[in-house]
């Protein structure tokens, strides 16, 4: 609480790198709730271990339910998709873990460019962590 107040005063931007260990302790529902709560506070999250496509879809759905027109317009989310599975992984239905993902408030982040090797995201000037 105290840290957030200091950030607001200095108009700094808060980046939180969330470890794979932390994410692995959460169920999908808990993970999505945690992410949306943090993003609604104005935090930018970098997930060491990204969301599965089904979790991403649920995050979009939950985000739509949480939109408040004057305070929260949604999320900006960028990451790399899962690598293609090998023949044996397909046979045994083993899914590779999704890769690193950045999620933040849509009024704070804007994706400038994304390709297979680089994701360029701009912080919208004049916005600070709430």
């Amino acid at each position: 609480m105290e840290v957030n107040s200091l950030i607001k005063k200095d108009e700094g931007i808060s980046f939180n790198l969330i470890s794979r260990n932390k994410l692995d302790t959460l169920s999908s529902d808990e993970k999505l709730k945690f992410i949306l709560n943090e993003v609604k506070k104005g935090k930018i999250l970098v997930l060491e271990h990204g969301l599965t496509p089904m979790e991403q879809t649920s995050l979009i759905e939950n985000t739509m339910r949480e939109i408040e027109q004057d305070t929260f317009i949604g999320v900006e989310m960028e990451g790399y998709e899962q690598d293609n599975r090998t023949f044996f992984q397909k046979i045994f239905r083993i899914y590779k873990k999704p890769r690193i993902t950045m999620i933040g408030p849509a009024d704070l982040l804007k994706t400038v460019h994304k390709d297979n090797n680089i994701i360029q995201i701009r912080i919208i000037p004049g916005r600070g962590a709430k």
Partner: protein, 218 residues
């Protein structure tokens, strides 16, 4: 034509190995031309249209569908229920409708509210379809999170997907970029507006969506 003439053989093979009826969802981000494509398909095969189109994003805010659209190509055919879904987005900002498209504040807020409900409805429809025509704007960067998320979701469900690289009538379109971005899926360059290459799209739809797929739930 004998018992195993071209026509009857194709019909027999389709009966044994393929589907004759499929529910196909038209998906994609806002403003890529989903309803324009739905209108094109319906106009070509039923003489009807699906709905209104607009340059303002989120024009389609409720899913619309048309049953029993029979698409033919030579001796093969597929009857489809076509579902035109609202555009999927990760954000909806009513101020964009006001500042960019000149809507009044009330209109913009109503549109934004309905758009969020539309996104939820589009996602819900994923549970009830047999295949997806994923529409992308061939003039835009293909690696958007919405495109990647929808494709990942469909792959996890093992649903067949055909990518329609739309707006190739525009000078700065690059369907080749889309093809190289998603090499694991068939990409058909089209102009839903002019109908360019729609015959090829229909042929691929019959071929691709007739295949039997076992849905997976994850």
């Amino acid at each position: 034509m004998g018992l195993f003439g071209k026509g009857s053989l194709a019909a027999i093979l389709q009966k044994i190995f393929g589907k004759k009826h499929a529910k196909i969802g038209i998906y994609g981000p806002p403003n890529v031309g989903k309803t324009t494509l739905a209108n094109r398909i319906l106009r070509d095969w039923t003489g009807d249209i699906m709905g209104a189109v607009s340059e303002v994003p989120h024009e389609t805010r409720r899913a619309k569908w048309k049953k029993d659209v029979k698409v033919e190509n030579g001796n093969s055919h597929l009857t489809m229920d076509i579902v035109d879904t609202p555009g999927i987005a990760t954000k909806v900002d009513f101020k964009e409708f006001m500042n960019v498209y000149g809507l009044s504040k009330d209109e913009a807020k109503t549109r934004a509210k309905e758009a969020t409900e539309g996104v939820i409805e589009a996602i819900k429809w994923l549970e009830d379809i047999d295949g997806v025509l994923l529409v992308m704007d061939a003039t835009q960067d293909p690696f958007t999170q919405v495109n990647v998320t929808i494709l990942g979701n469909l792959e996890a469900r093992n649903l067949p997907v055909l990518i329609a690289a739309n707006k190739i009538d525009l000078e700065d379109s690059s369907p080749a970029t889309l093809k190289s971005a998603f090499p694991q899926h068939p990409v058909i360059p089209i102009s839903a507006l002019t109908g360019y290459n729609s015959e090829n799209l229909y042929s691929m739809m019959i071929k691709h969506f007739s295949k039997k797929h076992k849905k997976r739930w994850r």
